[in-house]
């Protein structure tokens, strides 16, 4: 979606702000540029809307070289949120939010409608806030307006330059959560500059770690936490955070290794007996080679029990979601919570059933961990 190719940026005084940088930002993802101040992250971001131009190299958006697009036109097609607030103090909230649509010459009615829609999106009542001046809003509210102002003309790319860094910790956390929630709906390609690792880990799909004009590491938060490229990355992440993340076991350590299974051609009475025997209320269906097919609950069997010809395969449900043995436990737990399922099948790379992550197995694991810690203390 956004491709930066062999970018260098040299200033007249000889300072090299960016050294031969190539970067790819995927469509619909949040890419966080992070690094100590002066590392070039903001400079890099500003290349994308041509607030900065590279000394050499090119930037492509959707395959188009942006040096061939008029900067003013380009900027109107890219959302922009900056540090502090950047709201225009002499315009009310509606006018601030409607800025880009107005520059794009939308008609008044359409702008008004869009403004109300956006204010609702961040839970600011349009009736109350439309006519207020920015100074009459709290810092958190102002930054919400800053974010929706960038969304106004529905750009596919949004640049955010440390948008939440001036906020108090509570509003900052709220806004980060809101951004994550919002992003699930709007699926924009977002480039987000920050110096806060927690923020990057929380919101980013990809993290780009920079140091003195170079990219040190580029990867998912998971990759960066698990395999820091060098000492600088480790230091930047911080030992405490590394331990917290690396201490989390993969699913394979927690799962039930031999879950109760049946083959699809078994009869219902037979399956019922197995379930009674093993005291479980649902059973996993696999074929002879242990490929996962689905599951059946005891209620499904009771419902269909009258018909003697019914086989397991006739009443089984398939799984929408599975995890692999390397999935970190935290991620799997979040998934289970989100999907509201009592268990998740664990498949290896060949699609064979390795085990089953159940609530019971998680409790058992946490219990044993807690136990051992306690023992260690005593």
């Amino acid at each position: 979606m956004i491709v930066l190719k062999d970018i260098t940026k040299k200033y007249d005084n000889g300072f090299e702000a960016l050294k031969n940088i190539s970067l790819h930002c995927n469509e619909g993802e949040i890419t966080a540029l992070i690094g100590p101040s002066g590392c070039g992250k903001t400079t890099l971001m500003k290349l994308i809307n041509r607030l900065n131009n590279p000394t050499s190299g090119s930037v492509f958006i959707k395959g188009k070289d942006i040096s061939e697009i008029d900067p003013v036109e380009l900027r109107r097609s890219i959302g922009y949120v900056i540090q502090q607030i950047g709201l225009f103090p002499h315009m009310n909230i509606a006018k601030n939010v409607g800025t880009v649509p107005k520059l794009l010459k939308w008609d008044k009615e359409r702008i008004g409608k869009r403004v109300d829609e956006l204010l609702n999106l961040v839970s600011l009542d349009p009736e109350t806030y439309r006519n207020r001046l920015p100074s009459e809003l709290s810092g958190g509210q102002q930054q919400r307006v800053g974010v929706i102002r960038a969304l106004a003309a529905d750009p596919s790319v949004i640049l955010m330059d440390e948008p939440f860094s001036a906020l108090d910790p509570i509003s900052r956390e709220q806004l980060q959560e809101e951004l994550v929630r919002l992003q699930r709906e709007i699926k924009k390609t977002i480039v987000f500059v920050t110096h806060d690792m927690d923020e990057a880990l929380k919101i980013a799909d990809k993290i780009v770690l920079m140091k003195s004009g170079e990219i040190v590491q580029h990867g998912t938060p998971e990759e960066i936490l698990r395999h820091p490229a060098n000492e600088f990355v480790e230091d930047f992440i911080g030992q405490k955070r590394l331990k917290r993340y690396q201490g989390i076991p993969p699913v394979s350590q927690v799962m039930v290794e031999r879950p109760i299974t049946v083959t699809p051609n078994r009869g219902l009475a037979e399956s019922m007996r197995i379930m009674e025997d093993k005291k479980v209320d649902s059973i996993i269906v696999v074929d002879e080679k242990n490929h996962l097919l689905g599951y059946v609950t005891v209620f499904d069997i009771v419902k269909a029990y009258q018909n003697e010809d019914t086989k397991i395969k006739d009443i089984m449900h398939s799984f929408n979601t599975t995890v692999n043995p390397d999935t970190p436990l935290t991620e799997a737990i979040q998934l289970m919570n989100k999907l509201q399922v009592p268990y998740l099948p664990v498949l290896n790379e060949k699609g064979l059933l390795e085990g089953l992550l159940t609530r019971g197995s998680i409790v058992g694991y946490v219990g044993s961990e807690y136990h051992s810690i306690k023992e260690g203390v005593v």
Partner: protein, 220 residues
Amino acid sequence: MQDYGYLSVFYERMPDLLGKLSEHIFLSGISVLLGCLVAIPLGVLLIKTHIRWMKSLTFNITNIFQTIPSIALLAMIATVLGFGTETAVMALFLYSLMPILKNTYAGFDSIDPQIIQSAEGMGYSPMQRLVQIEIPLALPYIMSGIRLTTVYIVSWAVLAGLIGGGGLGELILAALSLNDKPLIIASSVMAMILALVADFILGKLEKAFTKSSNTEAQKI
């Protein structure tokens, strides 16, 4: 010579007073207007330019005009333009430059660079940024400069009488030579009232702009 009292002079000499008052208004008004037309664009130009010496040079030149005593300036210009209204307007115009220029510059200078960058990043063209963002934000400062200048110019315009430039100053000088005390007082009061009224009206305007732009106006 004087056959009227301090109060009845207003009634007796009303036509003269009003005539000279309107000349005075014209004199000060045209000078301030010219000052605005030159100093405001110049201020914008100076804030946009990156050439440092141009800034200091312009400020120094306008400052120099400010330091020349008003009578001396009038005399100097009179040697070139001769006696009359043009000379008076020229001198007053030169006096008005510095305060308007300084306030215009300060107004633009006071705008948070973040706001400018945010406007640029959102896709305002340089002209749109100037008209829709920067001028409205600098306006309270500019207005305050105009107001201050107007009050000065109204009082300095009295000196125009010395070189036949018209205005209440002429009336005062005439009355002085005739030792017509009530007329001197009446003319002076007229000039004072004019200054106060101008200050009041422009103050109201300034307040209106300040309110709408929500920025504290700073007086220089």
